[in-house]
């Protein structure tokens, strides 16, 4: 990938502030950064059962995952003039409150930074090969994909 643009799939946690600081370090052409962090939520939204999620395990497709994230970032670069992008997605077992995903976009102006950050997250949700398995006191189950995520991705097609 082009200098300033990178993706990582890792078990380790990340420091959002440090990541953004690295993105803008030594640059004078950045007027804005926009960033997103996704977290593990304890409540239950995908099923009627009222059990709390005690942890979730993120599985991925090594190799394809990195390629898919790279393709998504490059698609964003094709749409907006971006200066730098950092994407981190964690895998393995994560407990409620843990950070799962980080996207930061640096650009000359806020408009493209906001838009590209949302675009990258929308595509990540439907195109990057990650799967969540929720662990509850009653057992484990795979999270079902949501149609609203497909709709969020599809709305970019016409823009």
């Amino acid at each position: 990938m082009q200098d300033g643009f990178s993706v990582s799939v890792q078990e380790a946690d990340f420091d959002a502030g440090a990541e953004i600081a690295r993105l803008v370090a030594g640059r004078e052409d950045i007027g804005a950064t926009a960033s997103f962090i996704g977290y593990v939520r304890a409540d239950k939204v995908h099923a009627a059962a009222a059990e709390k999620v005690v942890a979730m395990t993120l599985e991925h497709y090594p190799g394809m995952t990195e390629q898919a994230l790279t393709d998504i970032v490059e698609a964003a670069q094709g749409r907006w003039p971006l200066v730098a992008v950092r994407v981190i997605h964690r895998v393995g077992r994560l407990e409620p409150g843990a950070q799962i995903v980080f996207v930061a976009v640096a650009a000359a102006h806020r408009g493209e930074a906001f838009a590209a950050c949302e675009f990258i997250m929308d595509y990540l949700k439907t195109r990057a090969p990650f799967w969540k398995k929720e662990e509850t006191p009653a057992g484990g189950h795979w999270v079902e994909a949501r149609e609203s995520d497909d709709q969020a991705t599809a709305r970019w097609a016409g823009r």
Partner: protein
């Protein structure tokens, strides 16, 4: 034709296998036909045919079930993704 087949997430658990080297019979030239042939191998393989919204990647790129197969391909079957 020899290919490598991978399964992920709930599908991997249902089939009890993560990866398999497969010698595909002549005449099977598309991903959808490969799925049907794998699914016809008896329990638990019908799960591959009945999987809802099955996704497939060939050589790590998402494709449709009409995608062609080539010797040495890595074909992955998996449920819709749920990252982020």
């Amino acid at each position: 034709m020899k290919v490598k087949v991978l399964f992920f997430a709930g599908l991997r658990e249902a089939l009890g296998v993560a990866a398999e080297a497969v010698d595909v019979p002549a005449g099977i030239v598309q991903v959808g036909a490969l799925r049907d042939w794998l699914a016809a191998r008896g329990e638990p393989w019908p799960a591959l045919a009945t999987a809802k919204n099955l996704r497939v990647a060939v050589n790590q790129h998402m494709v449709g079930l009409d995608a062609p197969l080539n010797s040495g391909d890595e074909i992955a079957f998996f449920p819709p993704v749920t990252g982020g």
